[in-house]
């Protein structure tokens, strides 16, 4: 099966001499839900900009569903729907017009454009606001408007650059559900996000980009398997002393009812519970100190992994 996206030795040097991409290669398979992670300035948005023609590449090849952008960019563009990081629609236009116009730019006839606009504005829950000037919409509604706009020509590859930035939790969850639905229907999705929990919840494969190079490209599951250590926060029913020690597990008291315990790969957390139980301490709840993927991400970009 041909990949949805193939990037080979992609380089970008900006006019000021900054090398944003240092020859990255990447492949995203059809139907995948793929995460592209990296700190600010790592090269994520440059990569996306090149794929959708807003940034001119310096060298390398990009093909979308086997269509090389150097050979037939218009054909490649038809496959792509893009949801950028910044709001990039005319805020004085009605949301409905923003979506209908975008359909027109892809060559859809007016009747079909209106039909699709209705379909996706309804699917994203902003049909009621269709005649409101888009500047009057909330941040979350503007994000959903951009998703509707990106989907109106029904692309096979949807690229979302930080789609849930600034969106409240409830709306983020509903956007996740929507993206999972369209992915299940066959749309390949590439997502960049700062919410690593989002990548862990949604994506099957992941590439981590840092300083213009790919530092990791694997499945989320394999990436998490690489974790050597996890830190758990334990809420205790009884007060614990400051010098609480659990053999083999570095432990720190955060407050009289809370302990922080490090568990190395290969160790069993049951041993922690047993040791505390022997000391008459009962655990009421437990959680990870930080998102596991976040920890992995920090290790990778700092070169510790």
């Amino acid at each position: 099966m041909i990949p949805a996206l193939r990037i080979e030795n992609l380089r970008k040097v900006y006019a000021d001499g900054f090398e944003a991409l240092k020859g990255i290669s990447l492949e995203v398979q059809q139907g995948d839900f793929f995460a592209l992670l990296g700190p600010n300035g790592a090269g994520k948005s440059t990569t996306i900009g090149i794929i959708c023609s807003l940034v001119a590449k310096t060298a390398g090849r990009v093909s979308v569903f086997d269509v090389d952008i150097d050979e037939d960019f218009p054909a490649a563009k038809k496959y792509i729907g893009i949801v950028p990081q910044e709001f990039n629609f005319n805020q004085f236009e009605k949301g409905y017009d923003v979506v209908v116009n975008q359909a027109g730019y892809y060559g859809l006839p007016p009747a079909l454009a209106r039909e699709r606009a209705e379909k996706y504005l309804k699917a994203l829950g902003i049909w009621d606001k269709r005649n409101v000037q888009s500047r009057m919409l909330s941040g979350g509604m503007k994000r959903r408007l951009m998703i509707a706009r990106a989907l109106v020509h029904e692309p096979k590859l949807l690229i979302l650059d930080e789609p849930t930035a600034g969106v409240d939790i409830e709306m983020r969850r509903s956007m996740w559900e929507f993206l999972q639905e369209i992915n299940a229907e066959g749309t390949t999705i590439i997502l960049t996000t700062h919410y690593l929990e989002e990548a862990e919840a949604l994506c099957r494969n992941i590439a981590i980009i840092n300083e213009g190079g790919i530092v990791e490209n694997t499945t989320i599951r394999d990436l998490l398997r690489q974790l050597h250590r996890e830190v758990f926060i334990l809420d205790c029913a009884e007060q614990v002393s400051e010098d609480t020690v659990i053999d083999g597990f570095p432990t720190r008291r955060l407050d009289p009812h809370t302990l922080e315990v490090e568990v190395e790969k290969g160790q069993h957390i049951n041993q922690v519970f047993a040791a505390l139980d022997r000391g008459g301490i009962h655990i009421t709840s437990m959680r990870n100190r930080a998102n596991r993927l976040e920890e992995m991400f920090v290790n990778l970009v700092e070169g510790k992994a």
């Binding site: 805020q91 027109g104 730019y105």
Partner: protein, 257 residues
Amino acid sequence: MNATEQWNAFMTIVRKEIRRYLRIWTQTLLPSAITMSLYFVIFGTLIGSRIGEMGGFSYMQFVVPGLIMMAIVTNSYSNVVSSFFGSKFNHSVEELLVSPVPNYIILMGYVLGGVTRGLFVAVVVTLVSLFFTDLHIHSYLVVVTIVLMTATLFALAGFINAVFANSFDDISIVPTFVLTPLIYLGGVFYSMDLLPDFWAAVSRLNPLVYVVNAFRYGMLGVSDVSLPVAFGMISLFTALAFGYSMYLLNTGKRLRQ
């Protein structure tokens, strides 16, 4: 994109442009009607009555073609420059750049948007002029052709200005310091015969001279320049402006990183 898809994309841009200037008609259509009415009252009626004939016509009849053309030039130019720069400023131009629509369709869509506004205002100004003088049409063919060519030329010029503009100041500098002087020195209010030979020769470098005189020929049957030369010069300027606009779009200058 096949021909039908390109047509759909083209009409989408044109419709969007027309909706834009109709939505803000108090900023786009009304000012020209008011300004031109003042020109008719002050230059045509009050001062014109003391000037007497020019080129064999009353001064009011003489200035009407120039004033209509002035409205067409400023409106077709300012529509494209403000709309395209606005889309750069709010990044909505990216909607077009990420889509498969060919560059020449983008250019033609914006240009036709500017042309329609120029025509719209021309009709309004012509209707206003009827309150002050009779309408003479010497050649409908020349009038229609020259109006369309002029509106196209200045819509293209507005597009080039918009591509290079970095701020809203930049889109007012050219109309204020270049376009307005060219209009005033382009024979709207006087005949070239009144100028000394040297300045009459210099004036022939001004594209507005050809535009105004060709249009005046279409309406009154008189012109300071030969009609074929006027059409030739306007065609040349239009071809250059179109070629340069396409170059800017194809290379992505000031539009893509």
